[in-house]
């Protein structure tokens, strides 16, 4: 943003000079906080996108809370744009229980007065950010796709079919979640940020949920939201066993995840965490292959930002063909194995 400001010379109009100085000053005053989500000892890829987004406001402070946060903090400190890391090594915050994490965020905000509090728009961030906003009597902004300036954002509505440009210029701090696929992941920079412990002893909890267990299947397969290629199946697959065709194709392609429509998740063909759509996962891979799925509005919401879309369906009238770059009207039970073979 600094590069976009006009050069100041003796000939610059005084009004321009004041605008530039004001914006420079605002840039220096804007200090964003990023909430770091971690999984298995690493910051999540979505968090790295949150850092890129937050950098648009200024130097980033990152907050890492939970047992063993020191490791994650050391990793986060290496990313470009992060100039400070706050840690809270306390098991109360480990499992993302929103009541406790939001109370912590409020305490951190009261002590530091950040201009923006940013997290990625996933289950963890969505649970904490709005609650923290309420604690500060602020209105949060969800699922930001684009940051136009410190106060102006674009976010999707109606399953992404209407983009809303909003201005949040009333609250003293903007709580927001960002859509990870809209922001590149931060990269490691030259220097390490300072890591300091935040004293959370004063944080009081009201009635909170008790974490019982997480049921997470850790797989070595590529993750849906970060894979370079995604192959998705719909009702045309007819049953869960037939999804093997897609798993095999994915293995052949490499760095390829398998997704599904809500219809087949509801029918029990595949686990729900494979659902791509308005209220499932939003993906934007280089290549999206839609096999045997018709392309309902809600599904398109989750994948229409993919670079290249291929549709394989034996119904030429399926709506998916309206967004596909390449459409193949053929029975998927012939086309998919043939595609796997010929790749």
């Amino acid at each position: 943003d600094l590069l976009n400001l006009p050069r100041l010379t003796k000939q610059t109009h005084p009004q321009t000079t004041s605008i530039v100085m004001f914006r420079l000053g605002r840039q220096l005053l804007a200090n964003p906080l990023v909430l770091v989500e971690s999984a298995r000892g690493n910051p999540t890829p979505a968090t790295l996108s949150a850092i890129t987004a937050a950098r648009k406001f200024g130097d980033v402070t990152a907050l890492v809370a939970g047992t063993g946060c020191g490791d994650v903090a050391a990793k986060i400190a290496k990313f470009e744009g992060v100039t400070k890391v706050l840690t809270v090594d306390d098991d109360n915050y480990t499992h993302g229980v929103a009541e406790k994490n939001a109370a912590l965020v409020k305490a951190v905000q009261d002590a530091n007065k950040f201009s923006h509090i940013v997290a990625s728009h996933g289950a963890w961030g969505k649970g904490i950010i709005p609650r923290a906003a309420a604690l500060s009597d602020c209105a949060p902004v969800s699922d930001v796709l684009e940051i136009k300036d410190d106060k102006t954002f674009v976010r999707p509505t109606y399953a992404g079919n209407a983009l809303s440009e909003v201005v949040a210029d009333v609250d003293p701090v903007i709580h927001m979640t960002i859509r990870p696929t809209s922001f590149d992941k931060a990269t490691e920079g030259g220097s390490d940020a300072a890591v300091e412990a935040f004293d959370a002893s004063g944080v009081k909890f009201g009635a909170s949920c008790t974490w019982l267990e997480d049921i997470v299947e850790v797989s070595d397969k590529p993750e849906l939201t970060t894979a370079r290629v995604v192959v998705s199946g719909g009702r045309g697959l007819k049953n869960g066993d037939n999804f093997k065709l897609l798993y095999d194709l994915a293995d052949k392609i490499g760095n390829c995840a398998v997704g599904a429509t809500r219809a087949v998740v509801d029918a029990g063909y595949v686990p729900y965490d494979m659902q791509v759509g308005q209220t499932g996962k939003v993906v934007a891979p280089d290549l999206y292959i839609a096999a045997g799925l018709s392309g309902a509005i809600q599904h398109l919401a989750g994948m229409k930002d993919s670079k290249t879309i291929v549709a394989i369906n034996n119904d030429a009238d399926a709506p998916i063909f309206t967004v596909a770059d390449y459409g193949l009207v053929q029975d998927l039970f012939e086309a998919v194995p043939e595609l796997q073979q010929k790749l």
């Binding site: 229980v97 009541e99 609650r131 309420a134 209105a139 949040a168 949920c209 965490d273 280089d286 390449y326």
Partner: protein, 285 residues
């Protein structure tokens, strides 16, 4: 009204069990009261259009937000199992919002309804204001469980349940896919959906729950129930009645636009042609 939901944290000098009055009441109470929030939204099957003043809503089919139907269904099932003895439905919207109360909530089994009536069907209150109104309603009806759909399919904010829980300083259980009420009715064990798996939490009551598709399969209202719904009590209130006088939005919508359209695609005649295009034209494999 009982001061259960103060919206402020209890001061630290209170005894550790600051919910003692609540717990005493709950031990004496055998059944629970559920508050269900329902929003009137453009029907999910409609292909929306962006006009000069934003999304066109005139003459467009509207219905109850699909996730709110899961919330209604969850409450009705609990009532059938005699866990909950009264369900109050609430909507915050213009005059036409009464349709989701009579036509959905009351027709599906809610006992009474509250319509927080806004002047216009086009007014979209931001989630923070909706949460403040719900907080007042929850206090007035003395709700033990507040069930809301996880997100509204128009604004897709996914905030109201979390905002409400924060304002009430109550536990929140979002994206609930299963609920098991404890025998003593003081807590609920829930499974909720995370991005990469499930999580089990024990949720002490009173609490806010946000419901997802996989929680249940909403029933259809039967004609007899639709007729019965006409006689169920429906109370109208205004935001002023709830003590909410400042409705200035914190977040203003500057412009609404359609997303850029993708360039038209081509039909390929064979897998061979597809592979060729992907390799040489799209260069993505």
């Amino acid at each position: 009204p009982r001061p259960f939901f103060l919206g402020n944290r209890q001061p630290s000098r209170k005894p550790p069990c600051s919910h003692f009055p609540d717990m005493l009441h709950r031990t004496l109470q055998t059944k629970l009261r559920a508050l269900v929030g329902v929003k009137r939204v453009i029907d999910y099957t409609v292909k929306i259009r962006v006009g000069a003043n934003g999304v066109v809503t005139d003459g467009v089919r509207h219905s109850a937000n699909p996730f709110d139907e899961n919330a209604i269904e969850a409450a009705v099932q609990m009532k059938e199992k005699k866990i909950v003895n009264e369900i109050v439905a609430v909507t915050i919207g213009g005059p036409k919002s009464v349709e989701v109360l009579r036509g959905s909530a009351l027709a599906l089994g809610c006992d009474k309804a509250i319509h927080v009536k806004l002047d216009s069907d086009d007014t979209q209150l931001e989630p923070l204001l909706v949460a403040k109104a719900l907080q007042k309603i929850a206090g007035e009806v003395e709700a033990d469980m507040i069930l809301l759909g996880k997100q509204a399919i128009d604004d897709d904010c996914c905030q109201t349940p979390q905002l409400l829980a924060g304002l009430m300083d109550a536990p929140q259980a979002t994206w609930v896919s299963s609920m098991e009420i404890a025998d003593d009715k003081k807590s609920v064990t829930i499974t909720r959906e995370l991005d990469d798996g499930l999580q089990k939490l024990q949720v002490p009551l009173p609490a806010v729950f946000s419901t997802d598709y996989r929680l249940n399969e909403p029933r259809f209202p039967t004609l007899p129930n639709i007729m019965k719904a006409k006689k169920k009590p429906l109370q109208e209130k205004t935001l002023a009645d709830l003590g909410i006088t400042d409705t200035t939005p914190r977040i203003k919508v500057k412009a609404v636009s359609e997303p850029p359209k993708r360039a038209a695609g081509v039909t390929v005649k064979s897998v061979d042609e597809l592979v060729d295009k992907l390799k040489n034209e799209a260069k993505c494999i």
